[in-house]
Amino acid sequence: MNRVVITGIGAITPLGNDVKTTWEKIIRGESGIDYIKAFDTEKHTVKIAGEVKGFQPETKFDPKTLKRLDRVVQLSMWAAAEAIADSGIDFDQCDRNQVGVIIGSGIGGLTTWEEEHTKFIHHGPGRVSPFLIPMMIPDMTSGYVAIEWKLKGPNYTITSACASGAHSIGMAFKEIRYGKAQVVVSGGSEAPITPFAVAGFSNMRALSRNTADPKTVSKPFDRDRDGFVIAEGAGIFVMEELEFAKRRGARIYAEVAGFGATGDGFHITAPAPDGEGARRAMAMALDDAGCKPADIDYINAHGTSTDLNDKYEIKAIRDLFGDRAAKIAVNSTKSMIGHTLGAAGGVEGIIAILSIQNSKIHTTRNLVNVDPECAGVDFVLNGTRTQPVNCCLSNSLGFGGHNASICFKKYIP
């Protein structure tokens, strides 16, 4: 089996349009959540989101290309461009058949879908754009990255709601581990801040209805949490087979060591009681990585700020790790950027490996009063903590009962 390493990272989030800006703000505990600017929220109960700010895709891509791409694909392309540049890889020096793209999206081109459906209702079928289908299908997040960079290895998209990004990283890991690709551009992208989608998420009572300062609303594991804050963004990795990366002298951020994926088989939106599906996913990731519970020193939790997710995810950690749980640092990046749905696994995976690289674990913003049902782990409170991270997990748990856990390790030659 091949070893798999991360050699490039790219992100666009509510906190910044690149990795550096996002990470610096996360370390300072800032929030990227604010009132929605994308549309008029007068009739919406929920008026806040984590929106990307000052996004100017035309500075990297030509206007004709952009016209054919939904925002979700534009975000994917933007972060992929950063990750590819960051990796220093020259695809002309690669066998392009060995370079794959696996970028997840939970929903796909919502903006396009809504605009074209409105045309359909008002002007009839003859006015629906010929670009409706290629712009709305979620797999274009992977498809167009391959078109732009002419990459011809394994290419597909995984849709598993909020676990789409993590599953994509997991499958990219498998493609490389088992020798089906040398390089995979992987991660997740989502652009769900549209009038229709926000109404849907709001009416299912998934979103927080807290009307306090938007920056204080996402409070994972706090006793006063009342739902997640919807957000957009993308987080992309360049992943490579270790020997291939070494031959080209690549800088290595971290090793992808294991992947666990399970199903709840329980309910469309509620997690299985006690987080038993999440527990098995983490156990599988550990086993896959050849790690013992005692090896894990940090978990970047799914931590959505919903009642059930947070208490069951922590219960799953307690059940799996036993006495070790109290020594595992746990945080939720969603406390600052909100829930980027299918992008979450990518964005949070980047935060996890930067924690390994910088020996810094960010706080969970707005976590003031730990819910007794969430107790039993080492929450990082009162600002960023300096602590070595050798081995960590990044969890993503999706509607539909899709659980994914990725094990990242400090790279040791």
Binding site: K64, K67, G126, R127, S129, P130, F131, P134
Partner: protein, 78 residues
């Protein structure tokens, strides 16, 4: 030719080509970089601008700027 100006503006906007490339001889696919989906969208834009329906079999014949202008001028007169 005000109609030509309208047609050119639509083509420039839809295909992101410089206006000087849009002459009567220019072929949408070969000269202006359109693909099959672009040509469908162009026809829809003409229909919307000039308030008419272009039947599928007619639309398929309009492969140059000149043919489109002639067709639309003919419709404008009737």
């Amino acid at each position: 030719m005000p109609l030509f100006d309208d047609v050119r503006n639509i083509i420039v906007e839809q295909l992101h080509v410089p206006p000087e490339k849009v002459n009567l001889e220019a072929k949408f696919i070969e000269d202006l970089g359109a693909d099959s989906l672009d040509t469908v969208e162009l026809i829809m834009a003409f229909e919307e601008k000039f308030g008419l329906q272009i039947p599928e079999e007619e639309a398929q014949k309009l492969d140059t700027v000149g043919k489109a202008v002639t067709y639309l001028e003919g419709k404008a007169k009737t």
